[in-house]
Symmetry: C2
Subunit: 337 residues, 2 copies
């Protein structure tokens, strides 16, 4: 019989559909795409094609190299088809009924590596640290912009995950509003805190560690697990052990430890789940609402191994065919490879 | 500049991304699939293959035809890979932390037509009315089942919309819980009602009709519009003019008028948006929470012409590249064809 499970941190319901149950191995859809070359002349993100992108706002470069030319390790510029633009003031229009806000914000592309065919799962730790170095600088640049209410950092890997370009890149969208889902997470977390005087993410992590069956990885600073109410096959969360509402790039974050953890998880998915298309999203508190006691930043990685349809979009209930208790040991079996 | 719009009924934010803006015509992705035959010997939903499905729970049949054989016009049976099953009692397990509920419920497939290559957009009105006749009977059968809290009726049309079988069919999932999204809609609608003493869907419809730019269709009983904060290109809602929290198949529903309206909208999408893959979802009040004053049933149709990715799943904010003010007149230009 299927099981209907609730995620305590979001109140989200999920159907674990045992009638359709798949062994983790059977849920894997290995990509049939041909391997990509290290350099692709038509790729606007490849070195030498810098004139095909908007001007860079930040880059890590080799000494002597010029902005908007080759010689970079990590490069940041505005998305050519930016959803939001940094010019102008945030203005709320509410003529009687139809509320709208000017589309002011930022929409960055962070090209993570010069090589067209690299992925975070296969980069060296040193290369991954460069990405975090750039993110740290970019977050600091944006911290003073009072027009921004939220910074959403995410990666779309692969076509089914919504990515149109293969070259490894993350995106950062800064919005002038607190997003709907974030507000819901904050509300649920605050209500939990007001009842339990405890952060719901700290409590979730403690229960996952105590149970152990869904733990993918556990070290001094971070814990990764396939959540009890996983929506997607192999959905994995990385939660910091130190309670912190937002990512602060200092000793508490411990960049090297986080980069190692993220890379280990991505490598297990790469090897175990067949290099799946995935979305990776950083969840953190809004910029000017510190939520210190009750919110807890974390990262959610959702491989796109199923297709959300009418039931999911209409009800918010997801149907998942892989039990997280089976996904975690399967992923763990690829640890250290 | 982009515009960030809020849907009043759900508080959902959407970015109307004018930088990526597409004319409605450019957002259309015409299916490249080969036409399907009227009968497909391998299709478990085709007449003559009834033994490939679970036993029917309801059917409209020609006089003299036998259950679970050919001769039906509309046929209902449990999904072979049902997410929920009707056996047993609803039992809540909450050992300290991890809440779960037994997967009791129903998961029906409603095969809408004997022909493999038919779609609701191209059926006759008489054929469409038979589908509603069956739905009316099925809803009545289920009304007495105290284990069910909610009935979610939906259609997934096409592979990108999550459908694995081409033969025209709808699905009905009855859950023992009120789904997360439904609860959020009810909460927002109740809060609006408590402030404005008015249903937020009635108010939305009145504002859409007064504005007129996004109205796709308007008759005595129903109104269809591309909502102000549309998440998807050509997203269309059908809202009944008579305030009613749930679908009741009586004179207030006016089956013929609804079937005509739905068919007109689906035909405009079929012709204008290139027979797109889509999800169609009925939104209504829970079975035992009548919400009479403040909730209002309606149908949402979302063509899958874009791919939700990390930003959408992480923040709940959707990026849409087609302005609903342009989608509606484009769809209207296909009216009556």
């Amino acid at each position: 019989m299927s099981e209907i499970r609730q995620d305590r941190a979001t109140k989200r319901w999920v159907v674990l559909a045992t009638e359709r149950a798949k062994r983790p191995h059977d849920a894997v859809k290995r990509s049939e795409a041909a391997p990509e070359p290290e350099y692709s002349p038509d790729c606007p993100f490849c070195p030498g094609n810098e004139d095909k992108t908007p001007a860079e706002v930040l880059a890590l470069r080799s000494p002597g190299s010029e902005p908007n030319g080759p010689g970079w390790q990590v490069r940041v510029f505005a998305n050519r088809f930016a959803a939001l633009r940094p010019e102008g003031e945030v203005r709320v229009e509410n003529p009687e009924w139809f509320t709208s806000i000017t589309g002011v914000g930022i929409h960055d592309v962070i090209v993570e590596h010069p090589h067209h065919n690299e992925t975070p799962a296969t980069m060296t730790l040193g290369e991954m640290l460069l990405v975090f170095e750039v993110l740290s600088q970019r977050f600091a640049q944006l911290a003073g912009d009072r027009r921004l209410a939220y910074l959403a950092l995410f990666r779309n890997q692969g076509v089914t995950a919504g990515s149109s370009l293969h070259h490894p890149h993350a995106q950062l969208i800064g919005t002038p509003i607190v997003p709907t889902h974030v507000r819901q997470e904050l509300t649920t977390a605050r209500e939990f805190y007001d009842d339990a005087v405890c952060c719901v993410y700290c409590a979730t992590m403690q229960h996952e560690l105590a149970d152990g069956r869904r733990v993918v990885l556990d070290n001094d600073h971070y814990c990764a697990f396939t959540p009890y109410a996983s929506r997607w096959p192999f959905e994995t969360w990385i939660v910091p052990k130190h309670h912190e509402p937002v990512v602060v790039f200092d000793d508490r974050f411990d960049t090297e430890s986080f980069a190692r953890t993220l890379q280990s998880v991505l490598r297990m998915l790469y090897l175990g789940a067949g290099n799946p298309d995935y979305n990776l999203v950083l969840h953190q508190a809004p910029l000017r609402d510190s939520c210190e006691d009750y919110y807890h930043w974390h990262m959610e990685i959702v491989p796109r191994l199923s297709t959300p349809a009418g039931f999911e979009f209409g009800t918010g209930i997801w149907i998942n065919t892989v039990m997280p208790e089976e996904a975690a040991p399967y992923l763990r079996s690829f640890a250290g490879q």
